[in-house]
């Protein structure tokens, strides 16, 4: 019986047409459908990311009056003019200033907040959701409310300062003061968001590390600095890059902080004008110089790339210096 079966020629097993077709289809499926699955992102990216990027570069090589009809090709002229433009560098300094005084305390506060939320709390989910509330409110509303709080004459902050005997500060016309005011807006909005990201990463750290550290007699603070922070390093790097991109593109907060005529300058002598505001001022009102504005956009892109790399290098340094000394479980976060 078995002999008979074995003797059957394999070729005659099935009619030739159907298997081949379904075989081809399934091979096609296995090979190409993954590309189709990820295609939507790349299509969207090409339309909304790559194309505008390339088009902006093209525009930045032209003398392009938004109100005019015929743009003329000028090569790198916009860039050379921009590099010698003191107002541009003024805006770069403002942006970096606001970025530093908002991001550093923000990430530290987020780390601390995440550490607190990681403990045994009553109504834990409620607290965790609550820290995200500022992020849900509209930026415009936040900026307007803070703009009023930091008013020179009728603002609540100056009123409080007055109670403790400090003279009124002109938050909008003093360069550093305006940076501080804008930073508080950014912090208020983004600290909770970063805290939740840190919290998610913290929960992936194996409990046994803390248990053994506790047995070894490590204090809570010591556990935080020697276990939590080093193992959080990839997440911190992620948060830093995201904050760099967001921080250097800051627009809505400083723009709405200054209401009234030509608010886009961020104060009469550009006290808190960020690079994106400078870009808008040039590309649109009141200059309508589209080419020059596009050149600002491209230099901002370069600036973000540089700052992001510098930040990552710094953070990595910090990580290795205070590296984990807890056995061989490096990178246990998976």
């Amino acid at each position: 019986m078995s002999v008979q079966l074995d003797a059957r020629p394999p070729v005659a097993a099935a009619p030739p047409v159907r298997p081949t077709r379904s075989y081809r289809l399934s091979r096609f499926d296995a090979r190409w459908s993954p590309y189709l699955y990820i295609a939507p992102f790349f299509l969207l990216f090409a339309v909304f990311g790559a194309y505008p990027l390339a088009y902006t570069l093209w525009v930045s090589l032209h003398e392009w009056d938004l109100l005019g009809t015929e743009p003329t090709f000028v090569g790198a002229e916009n860039y050379t003019r921009l590099l010698a433009d003191p107002d541009f560098w003024h805006a770069v300094v403002n942006t970096l200033g606001i970025f530093v005084i908002s991001t550093v305390p923000q990430l530290l506060a987020a780390l601390w907040l995440a550490n607190l939320l990681n403990r045994q709390l009553r109504a834990r989910t409620g607290w965790r959701m609550a820290v995200l509330v500022p992020n849900v409110t509209s930026t415009a509303a936040v900026a307007i409310v803070f703009g009023v709080l930091f008013g020179r004459e009728f603002g609540m902050v100056n009123w409080l300062l007055d109670l403790v005997g400090v003279d009124a500060i002109d938050w909008k016309a003093n360069r550093v003061a305006s940076w501080v005011a804008i930073s508080t807006m950014v912090d208020w909005r983004w600290t909770g968001y970063n805290a939740l990201i840190f919290l998610a990463a913290m929960q992936a750290i194996p409990r046994d590390l803390y248990e053994s550290a506790a047995i070894d007699g490590a204090s809570r603070a010591r556990q935080f600095w020697s276990i939590t922070v080093p193992l959080l390093r990839p997440t911190i790097i992620f948060a830093v890059i995201i904050s760099t991109i967001g921080g250097l593109q800051l627009f809505t907060e400083p723009r709405l902080f200054h209401a009234g005529t030509n608010a886009i300058r961020g104060g009469p002598s550009r006290e808190s004008q960020t690079v994106t505001m400078y870009m808008f001022e040039n590309a649109f009102a009141p200059y309508y110089n589209f080419g020059y504005g596009s050149a600002v956009a491209w230099l901002l892109f370069a600036l973000i790339a540089v700052v992001a790399v510098v930040n990552v290098l710094i953070i990595r340094r910090l990580g290795t210096d205070a590296g984990p000394r807890t056995g061989g479980r490096k990178g246990g976060r998976g």
């Binding site: 939507p40 009056d65 009102a285 309508y288």
Partner: protein
């Protein structure tokens, strides 16, 4: 197995197709309902006061539906948006409002707009003050871009209650008599300040400067930042320097409350009665009423502006070439800027007509404003409007004006000395003009 994979393939194809559709399916603004009705979009900023006129027009033209966008918005936000629409060739309304400062920039490249002369606008000329009509024409006189809506005849609005508190006269003729010149205005201001009412004499030096510079220029050379050959003359035009020096006097005497014009502080200062006077073109009366609120009704009044009258602001209606209903749009713009339309707008929100017929109309001549203690606004503003001399504006007027005003503001806030401020004004204006 084959069925599953085919289904999966179909799903993938569907997903890709919908994504592509979603990314490409923009446009198609559904203008025409298909029943022959034409929808006309009108883009404005601030308060144009057209609501009643739309209703009347739609009743007379059953085939037309009018939608207005941007009411109450501020000019600084409106102008870039309009420019973007024009540059993109898409998005602008069928009828768009253009402020005089921006009109000069559009005039340099008139290709974005329908030439109203091609639509029989020439016969409307008599309906507008000569200079208002001429400013709507391109340099060669061959294209009419916009029809005038209003002019900004000047006055000085003041708070009677604060004047009384400071021991100054409160009756409008007596107040006008206090300040024939800006020097007198400063002296009155010093008296006011000495009385320590807790309020400043004026809102912001930039508003006052703007009034003075337009007035001084109108009464002398006829131009301020640019001469009529479009050369930047900020540093050499005596009218600009003279206005600057007068403003510095005002700042020096500590008369300004330093409330940045159009900021939230400025609005709060209105509500809390923190300043006593404000330079007041006709359209400003609506702004004051809006910000100071009903509680201050009857506390405000209107006096003559120091100096010799002048013009600040005023807009035009134009039809972008991208409009799909050019003929209907031109008809609507013509109606809105007719004498009747201008009177209707004045009654609703206060912009002063630019049509001589409208200015002569008893409805305007006899108009009073209850909010401003029944001041005869028709007389006060219209008298000036007939005789005022317009100021020529050059190609980068808006950008240059911004720089000069910011220089005034830095001096006002004590960040610069008047001399440094003037240097800033000149260098920054030159830079702006070159951009």
């Amino acid at each position: 197995m084959g069925a599953t994979s085919r289904r999966r393939l179909a799903a993938v194809a569907f997903l890709t197709a919908t994504t592509l559709l979603a990314t490409t399916a923009c446009g198609g603004n559904g203008d025409d309902a298909g029943d022959g009705t034409v929808t006309l979009t009108v883009d404005v900023f601030g308060q144009f006061g057209y609501d009643e006129l739309y209703k009347e027009y739609m009743a007379a033209n059953p085939g037309v539906k009018i939608v207005e966008r941007g009411t109450g918005g501020n000019l600084d936000e409106y102008s870039p948006k309009l420019t973007q629409w024009l540059a993109a060739g898409k998005g602008a309304g069928d009828v768009v409002a253009i402020e005089e400062g921006l009109l000069v920039e559009y005039k340099a490249n008139p290709g974005n707009f329908v030439n109203l002369l091609d639509h029989g606008a020439a016969e409307l000329k008599g309906n507008f003050l000569d200079w208002k009509w001429n400013a709507g024409l391109t340099a060669d006189g061959k294209q009419l871009i916009g029809l005038g809506t209003d002019v900004g005849g000047m006055a000085m609005c003041y708070r009677k209650d604060l004047f009384a508190k400071a021991g100054l006269p409160t009756e409008r003729d007596a107040v006008s008599a206090l300040w024939p010149t800006w020097q007198d205005y400063v002296r009155v201001g010093e008296r006011f300040t000495a009385a320590k009412t807790g309020a400043s004499f004026l809102d912001a030096a930039t508003n006052t400067f703007n009034t003075i510079v337009l007035q001084t220029a109108g009464n002398s050379s006829g131009y301020h930042y640019y001469d009529t050959g479009d050369n930047l003359v900020v540093d050499t035009n005596p009218a600009v320097k003279q206005a600057w020096d007068t403003t510095m006097d005002i700042i020096d005497s500590g008369l300004s409350g330093k409330y940045g014009a159009w900021s939230e502080e400025w609005v709060s200062a209105f509500k809390q009665a923190k300043f006593a006077t404000i330079a007041c073109p006709a359209w400003m009366t609506g702004v004051i009423e809006g910000h100071a609120g009903p509680a201050a009704k009857g506390r405000w009044d209107i006096a003559r502006v120091p100096g010799d009258g002048g013009n600040w602001g005023g807009s035009y209606l134009a039809v972008p070439k991208q409009s799909k209903h050019r003929d209907e749009a031109v008809k609507l713009a013509t109606f809105l800027t007719s004498a009747k339309g201008q009177i209707g707008a004045f009654k609703a929100k206060g912009p002063l007509p630019s049509s001589p017929q409208a200015l002569d109309d008893p409805a305007i001549a006899g108009a009073t404003n209850a909010y401003f203690s029944d001041a005869p606004v028709g007389q006060i503003f219209a008298a000036g409007a007939r005789s005022l001399k317009p100021v020529y504006m050059g190609p980068k007027n808006q950008a240059v004006r911004t720089e000069v005003e910011n220089a005034v503001r830095t001096v006002e806030l004590g960040q610069r000395s008047p001399e440094q401020g003037w240097t800033d004004a000149v260098t920054n204006a030159k830079k702006a003009a070159a951009k």
